[in-house]
Amino acid sequence: MRRRAILGYGAAVVGAVALMLFVGWWRVDGPGAPAPVGQLTVALTEMDFRLTDHEGNVVGPEALIGRPTMAFFGFTYCPDVCPTTLSDISGWLDDLGDEADEMNVVFITVDPERDTVETMAEYVGYFHPAIRGWTGPEEQIARVADGFRATYVRVPTESGDYTMNHTASVFLFAASGRFVTMIDYHEPREFAVPKIRRALEEETEGAT
């Protein structure tokens, strides 16, 4: 009787340990892992994708090497976050003045189904002229997001349409393609502009 009780306890302990290990694996490496946390955006030179810009040119990460880059994700059917980000960026570029001419500024859609080349062309036309709009097949967009460690997901709305949840940060890369830092969504201009200057300065560091 006593032996059976001990066996029972033993089994319970083993079970509990196994459960803990499983939960640990699930949350750290398994399907429950918080996807990009701790993982940094890779350098542009390590990315591989093919998209089309709003003027119909085939573009990839190599198109961004040689000049510092500011890139971000969004979609043109986005009523709040995306126009705000695009206007914020337009404001930062105005602040930077001539310095901004040295930068690539790329808006990458996460909604290629609705954001065709023509749609992107019309949309970016309303913002700062330096902003380029990139779109392409879904699997290529997925590769871009993977390299950036960005996420996006399609969510149906009550109106029968859908919206996209997506990483709203702005990514900064040096001219060498090295990832420098991120500007959080709606970060105040007094923090954003110095971060962009840092990416611009990395250009000369990268050259030495």
């Binding site: 918080p34 996807a35 990009p36 946390v37 043109t76 059917y77 009523p79 709040d80 976050v81 126009p83 705000t84 695009l86 206007s87 914020d88 337009s90 404001g91 019309e122 949309y123 309303y126 913002f127 996420t151 969510v155 709305t157 009550e158 109106s159 349409d161 919206t163 949840n165 997506h166 990483t167 709203a168 940060s169 991120m182 959080d184 969504y185 709606h186």
Partner: protein, 155 residues
């Protein structure tokens, strides 16, 4: 008998009083300031409008919905950005504004989401937007439409 009548009168008075004290949330209780919106590209995309709603009464008011001839489905939505920088948007539900307090509908937070536009939102135009409160009160505000790249009511 007298007592009953008195009670009845009192009850009637109280009922009347009860009806009139929490006055319908109307223009005298709710002040809407700095309303603005962005122009739309066509009619397929949802629009967004922003404003500050202040409760100047001494009772809480509860905003339950919106109506406007501009859009079939106007709704208060809230954008949230999580620790990983991912933004998402969902209906905000009812919004209680405490006495003397105000709520801000602003980019990246609460906003009036204008789904199923009936006409394009053209820069320079305005449109009426009616805020509906749970006590049946309504406040209508004329919202100016600014440029697509507008950042605030002054742009």
């Amino acid at each position: 008998m007298k007592k009953y009548i008195l009670t009845g009168t009192l009850a009637a008075l109280l009922t009347l009083g009860g009806l009139s004290v929490p006055a319908l949330a109307g223009p005298e209780d709710v002040v809407v300031e700095n309303a603005w919106s962005r122009a739309s590209i066509g009619m397929n995309r949802p629009g967004a409008a922003y404003m500050t709603i202040r409760n100047t009464s001494d009772e809480p008011v509860t905003l339950i919905g919106l109506t406007t001839p501009l859009a079939m489905m106007p709704e208060i939505h809230e954008t949230k950005t999580n620790a990983e920088g991912v933004s998402s948007m969902s209906p905000a539900g009812e919004i209680v504004i405490a006495p003397g307090e105000s709520i801000a509908l602003e980019p990246g937070g609460l906003h009036a989401m204008l789904m199923r536009l009936q006409e394009p939102m053209t820069e320079g135009d305005t449109f009426p937007l009616t805020l509906l409160f749970d006590d049946g009160g309504e406040v209508t505000v004329e919202v100016p439409i600014l440029g697509i790249a507008a950042r605030g009511p002054e742009d």
